[in-house]
Subunit: 442 residues, 2 copies
């Protein structure tokens, strides 16, 4: 993409309304625009990151056996009355009436709807396990939306729902999502630590929040440093093997980890002082087993191998992709701007023409642009007539992993400079080898 | 994907509520489930088709120079008061109040919001042309939603918005979208004919509906048969060349074509009788130049090369991806079910194990499944214990382009049957060559 044909509205000033660094950087880097209270447009750069984040989420959901569907945003009040939540949900639910005065709502979540889908079609244990997920907009009418996309009113959510014949199978389904989440966050360059969460009136121990450590985190967390060395399973992990998956979960739930809310001073005292890590954290995922909470009142039953009807045992599994973008930035930035992990970077490479209009620089850049693009790299080519200083600042701000810098002196010597955004390391490379260095065939 | 692990709720009976064939087939093939009046969940098979349709739309929008963003579904009434449409829009607009009694609405379209984004950032003609699009849910509170996803209340729409310094540039932008639409529909196996549409109070001749011919079409259309032989530009078409693009548009607007609404009997009489095609049509796209309708009241101005402020000249360009799925089915089905064009088929190949549980059949299928998958084919492997007859019916109903049929007698002879869903042609092929036939390396 040529920057001259792109829409990248960089802000020079720090926007006053932004309290946290990710919000500030997303506004400054032209990723988002606020449209209303807690409501944002993803501008082209933001949309590209969102697509990468969603693609990773999808791949890991699919790998773990979940199936993607897409439910509507607007739901009927009737459905929520079946579970009893229509009256219970309170003011965070955006309630709507249509032209025929029917009561609707903008879904804050989809347990009722997906349970309705399930009960309409699935009648036998033979069709289980089943896990259906979608990535769809949600609306929660928060009193005080803030921190940009970190806590919006309209936000994107991946929500998966598992259906199983009994608790043991539901636990295996829960564990699969647990492992899928470990892989998802790791692939985005995040170190996420699963922490036992409050299961509320349902009880049990099957609820975890996935927390990433970041100085600007919203909550205080406590965990054993052992987490930092735990291996995340590779893509060859066998989701068909319940024992293998349970083994991974056992390892990842053995060391102490708790949010402020669930913190247990006695257990914490049992952790050797040198192993204690007390830090700020950001919740990036939440998984939850809730058993028959919806299947029972809504009549989601299957016939078991015993010939009897069983209420299915359910769980739900959420990740907020828009929030995740902010979390990644909180965890990975410096004073100059964002530092994208390669897996979610909006472009792989920023190609900087230091003197657009200079025939040699233009020619070298065009050649590189074509070669890198045909090598499968997604390149943002800064072909504008801005001054070099401004171009460098923009490149650092938007945080592409690599910068290829083409200037008149270098071109005369047949060389370009390659800068790694993360380490800041610069190297000089012969023009002719740049494309190969980024994966083009020799 | 193994069918035993998939969620494909086939309906045996014809659903009573479905009046048209696409609605009936989408329900029967387990692609959609109705959730409320004019509101549908895309089930896994439907979601896969939707993804393919959206991917083609995106590729052609991007090729034509449009940039993808993502605006929220909920908008503020305030914004719509700026254009005067809040009061004018009528009951089709879903009006909402939040917990602080602020007036909101579920966007039926996004002209106001995108104009607000534009005016916030773009100040100079040097940043033009600009075309921003998104694919996002819309809500229009129709009195009588019907025909499944063909006319829903909540539906997905790709809407693009172009911004230019003057009418001439806006016309060039309009022509680029015109050509992008020709390519988009052709790639989905549709023959779409652009027909001049009513421009309403704005006047001018820059509004076209793209209509596909289908017996079950909603409206009567009249056109010259010459359209059926017109070449659609290839992917090497140069969107940077205004003259080339205008030439294509000239060719595609020369023969007579009109919807009932715009039909001109006098001009029609001038078409030779043998060239007249009078048929039913379905609108699949609508493009529209509306000049300063929003830029003027909303103050979307740029400085021109003359140093003066100019209201930008705008156009909008819509395609409904969910509706498009129905249109494709209307245009491509037979009595047994859907016939997907390869480009939008949910899977490339249906692999049918006629006798699951038979060791030889299972082994042959597993080998084929692995080989076809690693050749990059998306395969739905029917490994269920259903009877062969039922499997054939399902395969025809869901309409995958190819069926590879593995039965005990064939396997004993080292052969499988390959069926082309569209032509119905069957051939026998040696087991060992099947993967190669579908593109695997020898």
């Amino acid at each position: 993409m040529r920057l001259s044909r792109y829409f990248l509205p960089i802000l020079k000033e720090n926007p006053r309304e932004a309290e946290i660094i990710s919000h500030r950087l997303m506004l400054r880097a032209g990723m988002i625009r606020q449209q209303g209270q807690g409501s944002f447009t993803m501008l082209p750069l933001g949309k590209k990151v969102l697509d990468k984040v969603c693609a990773i989420i999808r791949e890991e959901q699919n790998r773990a056996g979940a199936l993607e569907i897409l439910m509507p945003t607007i739901q009927s009040a009737e459905l929520w009355r079946e579970s009893g939540r229509y009256d219970a949900y309170g003011k965070e639910m955006l309630r709507i009436k249509d032209r025929q005065d029917r009561e609707l709502l903008y879904g804050p979540t989809n347990e009722e709807m997906v349970t309705e889908i399930f009960r309409s079609y699935v009648k036998s244990y033979k069709d289980l396990p089943l896990n259906l997920y979608h990535i769809q907009w949600k609306f929660r009418d928060e009193v005080r939306p803030r921190f940009g996309v970190m806590r919006g009113r309209e936000f994107l959510m991946k929500d998966a729902y598992s259906f199983d014949i009994d608790y043991e199978s539901a636990k295996a389904a829960y564990f699969r999502m647990f492992v899928a989440y470990l892989r998802t966050f790791t692939r985005m360059g995040l170190q996420a630590i699963p922490m036992r969460a409050d299961t509320g009136p349902i009880g049990g121990d099957l609820s975890h929040e996935f927390i990433i450590l970041a100085e600007t985190g919203e909550s205080q967390v406590f965990c054993n440093k052992d987490f930092l060395d735990l291996a995340v399973p590779g893509e060859d992990v066998d989701f068909g093997n319940d024992a293998e998956i349970a083994g991974i979960v056992a390892k990842w739930t053995a060391p102490y980890a708790a949010t402020d809310e669930m913190h247990d001073e006695a257990a914490w005292a049992g952790v050797a002082e040198a192993d204690r890590l007390s830090a700020r954290g950001i919740e990036v995922g939440h998984i939850f087993h809730f058993g028959e909470k919806y299947s029972k009142p809504m009549g989601a039953r299957v016939q078991g191998p015993d010939g009897k009807e069983h209420n299915v045992s359910m769980g739900s599994y959420g990740i907020g992709p828009t929030r995740l973008i902010a979390a990644i930035i909180e965890a990975s930035h410096d004073e100059a701007g964002i530092i994208w992990p390669e897996s979610v970077a909006p472009f792989d490479i920023g190609l900087i023409n230091m003197k657009a209009g200079d025939a040699d620089c233009d020619c070298a850049c065009e050649t590189l642009y074509a070669a890198l693009t045909s090598a499968g790299k997604d390149v943002l080519y800064d072909d504008t007539d801005q001054r070099a200083g401004g171009k460098f600042a923009t490149a650092d701000l938007i945080g592409l992993p690599w910068q290829v810098i083409v200037g008149p002196r270098g071109v005369a010597a047949g060389e370009v400079e390659i800068k790694n955004r993360k380490t800041g390391e610069r190297e000089t490379a012969p023009l002719a080898t740049v494309a190969q260095r980024f994966g083009a065939a020799a």
